[in-house]
């Protein structure tokens, strides 16, 4: 069973990447796209594939990996199959951090993810405080409600930060908040990949502890986990992963929700395999969604976050019904 999971995931990500190379406003055959990737064939096709599509695919892969791992870790730790960074308001907090960073002129490729991380860590703390105040951290509904409240607060904070900005900046900021891979550059992608890689290594190192946390706080403590400390660490790492994706591609929702469920449905059982699988499946999903964003309304481009939400909301509803 295990090898089959990995086979399906790797095939999925390769297919998505190939589609990402071949599809777009300019249709290329897979063979032409492949040739262009190596610099052969029509110069326009080479330019499109190598300077436009390839960085997008790379950014999509790392953003998806970050969102998938963040969602998988949060779901297991919170024992809640509906948990994910976007719905928990973590991404919103990251957006506040990133926008604040921009207004303070901290725009270097390596600073932005950190600014977003501070915002995300603050908002995850806030969500858990709200949920604890309601006396039910484990209750999925209370937790999601807390996430929605914090997300709304984050939106308001961004509007305040943008209050004095010129119309075009506001328009750009709103576009960015809808999520997009359109501004992918190699420099930015390298930083996002570095942070996602670091976060991924940390979260995989904690996989066994997360597995125990997913049993509940008392069983985890019984089996040797320092529950409070481990939980705090998981939230911080999950926030880092989500924040980095926000800095790289804006707000892309529901990926963290769908991807772990897909990986589990394919047969992943342990947290470690779910997280590792979610990294691959997340990349595939984001790249595929980005292809749709480019193709559906061509020559215009849809926001990536709109596409993932269009897929994710029905998915969310089905899961919610299954839980009820």
């Amino acid at each position: 069973m295990r090898p089959r999971v990995w086979f399906v995931l790797v095939c999925g990500v390769l297919l998505a990447a190939l589609a990402g190379l071949a599809l777009g406003p300019v249709r290329l055959s897979p063979a032409d796209a492949w040739a262009a990737l190596w610099g052969a064939g029509d110069t326009n096709a080479v330019a499109i594939v190598r300077t436009l599509r390839l960085p997008r695919i790379a950014l999509g892969l790392v953003v998806g990996a970050g969102l998938g791992m963040s969602g998988a870790a949060l779901q297991a730790t919170l024992r809640n199959a509906l948990a994910e960074p976007y719905l928990l308001g973590v991404s919103g907090g990251a957006a506040v951090g990133a926008v604040l960073g921009v207004t303070l002129h901290l725009t270097a490729s390596w600073v932005q993810p950190l600014a977003a991380f501070i915002g995300a860590a603050a908002s995850v703390t806030l969500v858990l405080l709200v949920a604890r105040a309601a006396g039910a951290r484990g209750d999925p509904r209370v937790l999601l409600m807390a996430g929605v409240v914090v997300g709304a607060f984050a939106n308001a904070a961004i509007m305040v930060l943008l209050a004095g900005a010129p119309d075009e900046t506001v328009r750009g900021a709103i576009w960015w908040m809808m999520g997009s891979l359109g501004d992918a550059t190699w420099t930015g992608t390298r930083w996002v990949a570095l942070y996602v890689g670091a976060g991924g290594a940390l979260v995989l190192a904690m996989a066994r502890e997360i597995e125990l946390l997913s049993l509940g706080e008392d069983p985890a403590a019984a089996l040797g986990v320092e529950v409070e400390r481990a939980t705090r660490r998981v939230y911080l790492i999950a926030s880092l992963l989500a924040a980095v994706t926000v800095a790289g591609a804006g707000l892309v929702g529901f990926v963290g929700l769908m991807v772990p469920a897909i990986v589990r449905a394919l047969g992943a059982r342990t947290v470690r395999s779910t997280i590792a699988g979610a990294a691959i499946a997340g990349g595939a999903l984001v790249v595929a969604a980005d292809v749709m964003a480019r193709v559906i309304a061509s020559p215009a481009e849809l926001p990536l976050g709109a596409v993932t939400a269009l897929i994710g909301v029905p998915f969310f509803l089905v899961r919610l019904r299954r839980m009820a």
């Binding site: 406003p25 499109i48 119309d167 328009r171 997009s180 501004d183 992918a184 215009a300 481009e301």
Partner: protein, 306 residues
């Protein structure tokens, strides 16, 4: 004081205008005892009724174009308020700045005690127009997407200040100078241009923008002239596919284009065929439309007139 009871009909709005006219005539018939003067009505681009039988003396102009037209009509001394972006002509800079022209600060406008507020007819401004009506202030909402709209706007403003002949003179002169550029010899294969407005999301201009029309007047072709939207959103890939000969953009965007790795996918950017446009001149369909067309023709075809 010269009064001009004039009715202006836009063909599209003819029916509604007739209806309003009928109502107005009935109303004025009833009101005759109170209002001895005949009432004159005008429909602006919000399809709001505007009285033009009074000469506006304190005008707040909330768009750069209307401000420059008012100055060109010789009514600059009656302009008491402008937006932050109305910097032409130089004399306009002395006028009180009320901030934004879109979703303007109505309180700041009212504070200038205007008798006419000229708005850009965008949906974002409908609320402001309503508030001003409630406050008893006349508004005139105008919209200029096409070069052909210029005459209509100028005439509306000319009537509002009570000087129609000046309006006709101004419209004639601007149309003449645009026509002079249009009459220049056209290349057999017109060069194609991509007009870069804004990155992220990536915007350009479509068929229904006066800027696209200016490109045609100058003897070139906008690669997105097939799109209906005034400012359509497009993708870089589509630009590569349509492969323009030149990129037109403002001075602040040109260095960004040259430095961006992603833009190197566009052959014209790679080859450095980026033409820096004077956006303060070309970016608005105002009294300098002819100058703008000449500027574009000089940039794209190296053909300097006069």
């Amino acid at each position: 004081m010269r009064k001009e009871p004039v009715l202006f009909f836009s063909p599209i709005r003819l029916r509604r205008s007739v209806a309003c006219l009928t109502c107005a005539l009935v109303a004025s018939a009833c009101d005759r005892t109170r209002t001895p003067r005949a009432t004159a009505l005008e429909l602006d681009d919000f399809a709001d009724t505007v009285r033009t039988d009074t000469r506006a003396l304190r005008i707040v102009s909330l768009s750069p174009v209307t401000t420059e037209i008012l100055f060109a009509l010789g009514a600059g001394n009656r302009v008491v308020g402008r937006t932050h972006w109305d910097l032409y002509p130089d004399a306009a800079r002395a006028v009180t700045d009320v901030g934004n022209g879109m979703q303007p600060n109505v309180e700041a406008v009212l504070g200038l005690r205007p008798d006419l507020v000229v708005l850009y007819a965008s949906n974002a401004n409908r609320g402001a127009a309503k508030q001003l009506h409630t406050a008893g202030i006349a508004t005139l909402a105008v919209r200029m997407d096409h070069i052909a709209d210029f005459r209509r706007t100028v005439i509306l403003l000319a009537r509002a200040i009570g000087d129609t002949p000046a309006g006709n003179r101004l419209a004639d002169s601007v149309e003449r100078s645009v026509g002079a550029v249009r009459a220049r010899p056209r290349p057999a294969v017109p060069p194609t241009v991509f007009w870069f407005i804004w990155e992220s999301p990536l915007y350009t201009i479509g068929r229904n923008s006066f800027m696209s029309e200016l490109v045609e007047v100058a003897g070139a072709r906008n690669i997105f002239a097939d799109l209906d939207a005034v400012s359509p959103q497009v993708t870089r890939e589509e630009i590569v596919k349509r492969n323009p000969d030149f990129i037109l953009t403002g001075p602040e965007n040109a260095p960004k284009l040259r430095a961006s790795p992603a833009w190197q996918a566009v052959p014209a950017v790679r080859a450095g065929r980026i033409l820096v446009v004077d956006t303060t001149l070309v970016g608005r369909p105002g009294v300098r439309l002819g100058e703008a067309a000449r500027h574009l023709r000089a940039l794209v075809l190296h053909d300097t007139l006069r």
